[in-house]
Symmetry: C2
Subunit: 527 residues, 2 copies
């Protein structure tokens, strides 16, 4: 299968960004505004299979990944998906792509739910022509490779919900999904919470298991049928492959997650907690989401103290789950954890054993093309960003130098929370984080309600209700322009302009599949 060069026609979208009309040979709709795009048509329809073509005894094991890929009809130009539950400890994605390389396959599209530094060897596979391009988050070395224009196709970055949407809507038909499973049975039922490589929820692989043409489960912990609980249903699985190890347990989950020690960042966390208290968002039965970053963890600690003081209990908490959320639930301060991803050992143990700790999926939590999702029911979410501008637009993908270094994760999806709070230092490495205009728009400002920095709290002027609720509060509420100017004064001016070319190397998709922004090739000599 041959592929044309990337498209070169552009339009200016609803956030004023120039975006290509064709990406990887597919026509694109430009971002039209939040809630403006009306989806058409019907969901992806997998082909109908029959039990007559599968072993009656349920044993779908084959000897190795190469055999499984051949039986799945692996061909040049196919799309292979993998998942990031094993994070930087994952061995399975490379196993699968290397097996495809050994079979002489070329021009694959690799469709990971996210990539990590451990996946840097895919650069070699791209250089050799085995992998054509990547659609998925590209962290670190892969992002740099893409930014320097070395990838043949364009990168397509989607949120976790956007990835479900793209699969569900048939935008990305997956030929073969390879699912790393910490526990599985020979029928293909699989679970992530048990076994030597336990990682917690397998939610990111769920869409692939439902919609991919062929599904391979790879495990290092085969148990007799039935694998209980199962999060991946064997009825969607074609083949099961046993391997010695699916990854490095030490890198799959953290032993413990760490609260920030920086005084500035602790202050930011404290401001966020006080903000929730003083606005009245922290009330009995409320809900919040916080991730596993240092500030977010510190925020959970601060909020917990305030909740105890006030005698307030949350109905549910969401996250990247960690020891901190688990403790909150165990101490009776939250009824449920709705888990999007399981980050440390305490959280893995909890999801494996506590019926109040529930695995969710990008479908339940984030998919914008469903009949609602959980994200918009969360009272407050605490997120980070690499840049925020005076219109509250935010960037999580590039830095001010324009280099693609981070994925979107669930970040875009979480913006639909009732109160979206970005908690971030006003500068990093002497470069301002508050800017006139973000390098890349990952989230439109209309969805970002509050920016909390160590220098003060900026509230989006659209949220007059929040401003009103804080009358009489001691919190340092300040206009975002003022904060930005203060940081620029201290740092000696705004960040240097990114040295970029006019050649697009990746696009940032919005949650509805439209194109929100473009990532441009950086000039030779740039980082």
């Amino acid at each position: 299968m041959s592929r044309r060069a990337v498209g070169t026609d552009f339009v200016v979208n609803a956030v004023g960004r120039r975006v290509p009309t064709v990406v990887n040979e597919k026509e694109q709709a430009a971002f039209a505004g939040v809630g403006a795009h009306e989806p058409q048509g019907r969901k992806q329809a997998p082909s109908i299979r029959s039990c007559r073509d599968y072993p009656a005894d349920g044993d779908k094991r084959v000897s190795d990944l190469k055999t499984a890929l051949k039986k799945c009809g692996l061909r040049d130009g196919m799309t292979i998906s993998t998942h990031h539950h094993l994070r930087n400890g994952d061995a399975v994605a490379l196993m699968a792509l290397n097996a495809a390389a050994d079979l002489g396959t070329r021009d694959l599209m690799w469709f990971p739910s996210a990539s990590f530094p451990c996946h840097a060897p895919v650069i070699d596979l791209m250089d050799r022509g085995v992998v054509h391009h990547i659609e998925g988050s590209m962290n670190g070395p892969l992002g740099e490779y893409c930014s320097h224009g070395k990838m043949r196709g364009m990168g397509v970055l989607r949120s976790h919900g956007g990835r479900w949407q793209a699969i569900q809507d048939g935008e990305v038909p997956i030929d073969i999904a390879v699912i790393a499973a910490p526990t599985a049975d020979a029928f293909g039922d699989a679970d992530g919470s048990h076994g030597p490589s336990a990682c917690g929820s397998l939610g990111f692989a769920l869409a692939d298991s439902i919609y991919a043409d062929h599904v391979i489960v790879v495990t290092d912990n085969l148990v007799p049928f039935p694998c209980i609980p199962w999060q991946i249903q064997g009825n969607n699985v074609d083949y099961v492959v046993e391997v010695d190890s699916i990854g490095d347990p030490a890198k799959i989950v953290s032993g413990t997650t760490q609260i920030t020690k920086s005084p500035d960042r602790l202050m930011i966390a404290e401001y966020v907690a006080l903000f929730l208290r003083d606005t009245g968002i922290m009330r009995d039965g409320f809900s919040f989401q916080a991730g596993a970053g240092g500030i977010a963890l510190a925020f959970v600690g601060s909020l917990k103290g305030l909740m105890k003081q006030a005698g307030v209990k949350a109905r549910f908490v969401r996250g990247g789950s960690t020891q901190y959320l688990v403790d909150l639930m165990r101490e009776g301060l939250a009824d449920f954890i709705l888990d999007g991803q399981t980050f440390d050992l305490a959280a893995v143990e909890s999801i494996a054993s506590d019926p109040r700790h529930i695995a969710t999926s990008p479908f339940t939590s984030y998919n914008y093309h469903g009949k609602g999702n959980f994200a918009s029911m969360v009272d407050a979410v605490v997120l980070g960003a690499t840049e925020v501008d005076v219109n509250f637009n935010a960037n999580v993908n590039t830095h001010s130098d324009g280099v693609l270094l981070h994925g979107i994760g669930g970040w875009q999806n979480c913006l639909f929370s009732r109160c979206t709070i970005l908690a971030l230092p006003s500068f990093r490495d002497r470069i301002p984080v508050l800017v006139e205009e973000v390098t890349t728009v990952t989230g439109p400002g209309e969805l970002i309600d509050v920016v909390v920095t160590e220098r003060g709290i900026a509230i989006n002027p659209r949220r007059t209700d929040l401003l009103d609720s804080l009358k009489g509060s001691d919190l340092p509420i300040r206009p975002i322009e003022e904060l930005k100017e203060e940081v620029e004064r201290i740092m000696g001016g705004p960040p240097a302009e990114a040295q970029i070319t006019d050649r697009p190397v990746a696009v940032i998709k919005w949650v509805d599949g439209t194109v929100l922004d473009t990532v441009w090739q950086v000039e030779t000599g740039s980082p």
Copy 2:
């Protein structure tokens, strides 16, 4: 929408039965043999929705069922589905159909997962033209109505797995699914194991929730989001309706399930248990399925004794779950219950609280158009039948008088077990159950391995392995012809011929969607 009269062209299928080529205006494939039909095409693709069209706060409640049906765009000729988890205590199916009647709707197709005597008032709705016809099991009065040719369309009977297959394959597009939920939240997440009308698993509604155009959840136990656990995902639900009561708890689950007291039937149960022991099927790690009928319950009791004697433990047991299966698991004689339907209070309590008691769905258990299913992995299944013939063909739908009185349930799907055992008395009400040729073929003889009666055990000659394994056993193994002749001698001959016309009133579908047999209108004056 007008409907033509039923088709009148027939073909003779692979079990020698004359079946119509068109049913309810849809072309049909005739049964071609077990595993002979190769499905084509892709699964049903629901239309893509967007969160923008659903309330951000997740509150999908509307005031009543009429409002919900109107908002779903109810029109003449639509297909409305409901589910039988509430069994003979269900109030929701009639609520929904009566609401449609009040709105002046006509010619609906009612698509229940099963119907019960409590649904007899649908006869009036058919007489009045509100309901055009029923596709689904018709027990008792509805079956008689159909048998007497009073229904405008043809009945289509499908197994539980066949119903999933028909929905999934797009054979039956559901316009509006109405799901009775013993517990739900305002977002539509729903569960069956808790609340005043608890019924256990909601697995039969799962396909409808995924594939129907519109989904309404009706509950009498609304809880704050999130409803944990959820078996129906709110992300598939359009509206939630609160009512005072979804049904009569006393008829939803049995207080207790009852073992047969008949000495003949107890003997049959004992024979089945001994058969499993003597063939070696009862071994460590084995599995079996037994329902909630009197003989099946007695069989579980007998087998339990033999398992204890032999020091043998099952890996999993399946059923219609009851106190007897729950006790087996609690006493350490089975690792897991894979629950298809939850029959009594003890089983409801167990599925609500014990992580080893797992709700399955017709997708995991029974759907023949998947990548395998659980049914073929079960070592032995114990089923009933209304008739069995000398070729081991069996009937569960009609009696020898030809009147349609029973649904298929999971019966056809279970035939794929490694050893399918029909346990039944050789006669009922002085009418032989063992016959020359069954009135209706619900299951082809090639899948039925053993027939156990109080007069002896007949083994299908295809199963030489079973015959070999019983050399030296004391069990009364006898040819099926001999058993049949003995019963006829005692009863004074075979059953009277059914008095039927040449007009088809219903078809029996096979698990792959092909037509296995026809039910014919009975002569006026027949029962």
